[in-house]
């Protein structure tokens, strides 16, 4: 498997020689498909680093003795070590080192908001703002290298002590997969239950192919399976299998069912044809490959003029899909300004390159239908910003008499998701807030129901992949402690509605 890499030729650090970092070099940009080309296909936009580019970028890292990037990474990946391994030509070892902390490096290298986390903390920002080491791209490079070398035959870490305990993990998104992988490595028997026909959760149905290829997700899932995790798809816990049965059969249960229930605007006309929730739209396109209809069984409305409400990660994914479906005009309608947008800088930039229009300080007030009951326009209102609210962002305030009409034939509402109520409503005694967000003890991830733990979006509402991974990592340690504790002590959350 090990391929000989000529590190001297790549400009890296040779065996036995010290590293001389080159922090003053400019950050290496990643090659991307041309915007004119990429809006005609669903292939990945960012093409990734070549070995030369990766070594160049890795050589910029100072390998600080007190690395800030590590504390800013939610799962505390040992970043200087893996970057150092890349600089020394040990690409596969770098990915293996990341896997100690994060079971899904190829996914996180693509979708994690590094510019707000590890890269924001990088010390190179102090001398040259906006020019940190491209940690995310290096993570992606090493993970892809390892996956290509493993070629579906991942080398499974040796599991030393197999325990007699069985754990059920509900949901196979980033949180469920991480928790399952960690528990399997600890020697427990893990069964993973997935409601859809494919494992992967939001990585399969939510994030489009051009941002996260499904082949990559499948390889990461195969790695988790290789650890001995048994995955059962098409299984809705609470419907296909009663929760009581799961509770009886397993020593512990982890709920990582994510946030798959869409928020809607609750304004007139929202039930018109041609108005989708982002979840439905993305599931049709990403999971069911509706863009290939009629070759595939699921259709999708192909727009001429599309409107997306919201400006988070999902909204930018949707607007870019609309352009790929052939829209002549696709726009984001957002009630605050660009500064407050939760979407990633890179995604916003890519969307605009592809022709998406961003309309700031605008909020829909009603949808207008045609004679067939399909949306034909959206009435919007101008907004202005007031004082910051509890999220720290300035609150949008409507401007009186500023309404106007935007013509459209497809609207997608992407204003956030909440967890599905199915599990909370079926599991007696499970405390929730805001209807379906599960309350847990922040230190132990224990819920109000003994032996039931929860993590990921199910306990926070929709957040990022890396935060779900962090919760799952911490919860897996808590589950392990619980299973090994002779008293099986339970520390439920203090119920508080304020968080």
């Amino acid at each position: 498997m090990q391929e000989k890499i000529d590190i001297a030729k790549l400009g890296g650090v040779e065996e036995g020689k010290p590293k001389k970092p080159r922090p003053k070099l400019p950050r290496k940009e990643i090659a991307c498909q041309d915007p004119k080309e990429r809006i005609k296909n669903f292939n990945e936009v960012a093409l990734g680093y070549t070995p030369e580019e990766a070594v160049y970028e890795a050589m910029r890292c100072l390998e600080c003795p007190r690395p800030r990037c590590v504390v800013a990474c939610p799962v505390h990946i040992d970043i200087p070590t893996f970057v150092g391994l890349i600089a020394r030509g040990k690409f596969a070892e770098a990915a293996k080192d990341i896997r100690k902390y994060n079971s899904l490096p190829a996914v996180c290298g693509r979708v994690c908001p590094q510019e707000n986390l590890c890269e924001a903390a990088c010390i190179l920002n102090d001398t040259n703002p906006g020019n940190p080491v491209a940690i995310g791209r290096l993570e992606r490079f090493s993970a892809d290298y390892l996956l290509s070398k493993e070629n579906g035959n991942s080398v499974t870490p040796q599991i030393i002590h197999k325990t007699p305990y069985k754990v059920a993990v509900i949901g196979s998104g980033p949180s469920g997969l991480t928790c399952a992988a960690k528990l399997a490595k600890m020697g427990h028997t893990v069964h993973l239950f997935e409601a859809l026909h494919k494992a992967g959760g939001v990585m399969m149905y939510g994030i489009p192919e051009f941002r996260l290829p499904k082949e990559i997700v499948q390889k990461e899932i195969n790695y988790v399976k290789s650890l001995g995790v048994q995955v059962e798809t098409n299984c809705i816990v609470g419907k296909t299998v009663p929760i009581d049965e799961i509770m009886e059969e397993y020593d512990a249960v982890y709920i990582g069912s994510g946030a798959g229930f869409p928020n809607m605007m609750k304004i007139p006309g929202e039930n018109l044809g041609g108005i989708y929730s982002a979840n439905e739209f993305l599931t049709r396109v990403n999971l069911m490959r509706a863009y290939e209809f009629p070759k595939t069984a699921t259709p999708i409305r192909k727009p001429k003029r599309g409107v997306v409400v919201g400006a988070g990660f999902t909204a930018f994914d949707v607007v870019r899909i609309m352009l790929r479906l052939g829209a002549e005009h696709a726009e984001i309608v957002y009630r605050r300004t660009r500064k407050e947008m939760p979407g990633r800088g890179e995604e916003i930039e890519h969307s605009e390159e592809e022709g998406a229009v961003i309309r700031e300080l605008t909020n829909p007030v009603r949808f207008i239908g045609d004679e067939n009951g399909f949306v034909k326009a959206v009435e919007v209102q101008k907004m202005e910003l007031g004082e910051p609210d509890s999220s720290g962002r300035r609150k949008p305030i409507p401007v009186p008499n500023s309404n106007f009409i935007i013509e459209t034939d497809l609207v997608v509402i992407a204003i956030g998701q909440t967890p599905n109520v199915l599990i909370p409503s079926n599991l007696k005694g499970l405390s929730t807030r805001w209807g379906s967000v599960i309350n847990v003890n922040r230190e132990t991830y224990m819920t109000t129901v003994p032996k039931v733990f929860a993590g990921g979006d199910a306990i926070t509402g929709a957040a990022t992949v890396i935060l779900a991974i962090r919760a799952a990592t911490e919860a897996s340690s808590a589950i392990d402690n619980f299973l090994r504790d002779p008293q099986r002590k339970w520390y439920p959350p203090e119920i508080s509605e304020k968080r």
């Binding site: 003795p65 590590v70 504390v71 800013a72 505390h76 903390a121 720290g392 230190e443 911490e474 008293q487």
Partner: protein, 257 residues
């Protein structure tokens, strides 16, 4: 009874729910054991490693070594073998200096009453848990929940500390010469935390009392739901968004003089 036989007996006993009881059991067994006055902590540790594969060894070994140090130790160095981290090292000790060469496991220096522990490497979670006095110096990194519920004494970390340092802390002092992760001083009620460089998101979340100083960069959601205490950060963050507070004070300083 030979000290190794005592350890075997201790290892076969059901783990106590209360760490103090576990430590007392270990101490009683050592008091009733026979061993040479030349036996050092290092010799004992190396002998105990023959039980490495037995369930709960990691924890029981830590309590046993701590009890041995309490009885016999004044100034000892323990060199960790094969990177096999031991939990509860230096727990409950009252005096003397224990130097740990290598990495230590969870709950290092837990319930520390006095004396000094120096860890040459890194420590895992819950170092200084419920500590009441004494000093812990960590030359490497400290993982999550450093100084959880500590009420006295001092912890100095030469490199970085990860998340939830000073969680529910009541008194004492934590000093970090590097950076701190998320949720520094979460639900802190007293004591002092000083970070020389950066501290990431959620500093002083739900803080009730005590003092936190961060001299480097800070992350988001500063002092979310803070009800008391003082948090001091750089002046440049004066205009950046803060969390919702119902009390306490955020001080902006240029850290000069």
């Amino acid at each position: 009874m030979d000290i190794l036989k005592s350890f075997e007996q201790f290892l076969n006993q059901k783990m106590e729910e209360n760490p103090e009881k576990e430590f007392t059991t270990a101490l009683n067994l050592i008091n009733s054991s026979e061993f040479s006055s030349q036996l050092t902590l290092q010799n004992l540790y190396e002998n105990l490693l023959s039980f490495k594969e037995v369930k709960d060894f990691q924890t029981k070994c830590g309590f046993f070594l701590s009890a041995f140090f309490t009885k016999c130790g004044k100034q000892e160095t323990l060199t960790i073998k094969d990177n096999f981290e031991i939990d509860y090292l230096g727990s409950f000790i009252e005096k003397g200096e224990l130097k740990i060469s290598g990495d230590a496991g969870d709950f290092t220096g837990a319930f520390l009453q006095g004396g000094k522990i120096v860890v040459e490497g890194s420590v895992k979670d819950n170092c200084g848990y419920f500590m009441k006095g004494g000093k812990i110096v960590v030359k490497g990194n400290a993982s999550n929940h450093l100084g959880h519920f500590m009420s006295g004494g001092e912890i100095v970390v030469e490199k970085n500390i990860y998340d939830f340092a000073g969680n529910c802390m009541i008194g004492g002092r934590i000093e970090c010469k590097g950076n701190a992760g998320y949720s520094l001083g979460y639900r802190m009620n007293g004591g002092v935390i000083e970070i020389k460089d950066l501290a990431w998101d959620l500093i002083g979340e739900e803080m009730i009392g005590g003092k936190i100083t961060v001299k480097g960069h800070i992350g988001k959601e500063l002092c979310q739901n803070m009800a008391g205490g003082i948090v001091t950060v750089r002046e440049e963050y004066k205009d950046s968004p803060k969390g919702k507070t119902s009390g306490g004070k955020i001080v902006f300083s240029n850290f000069k003089g």
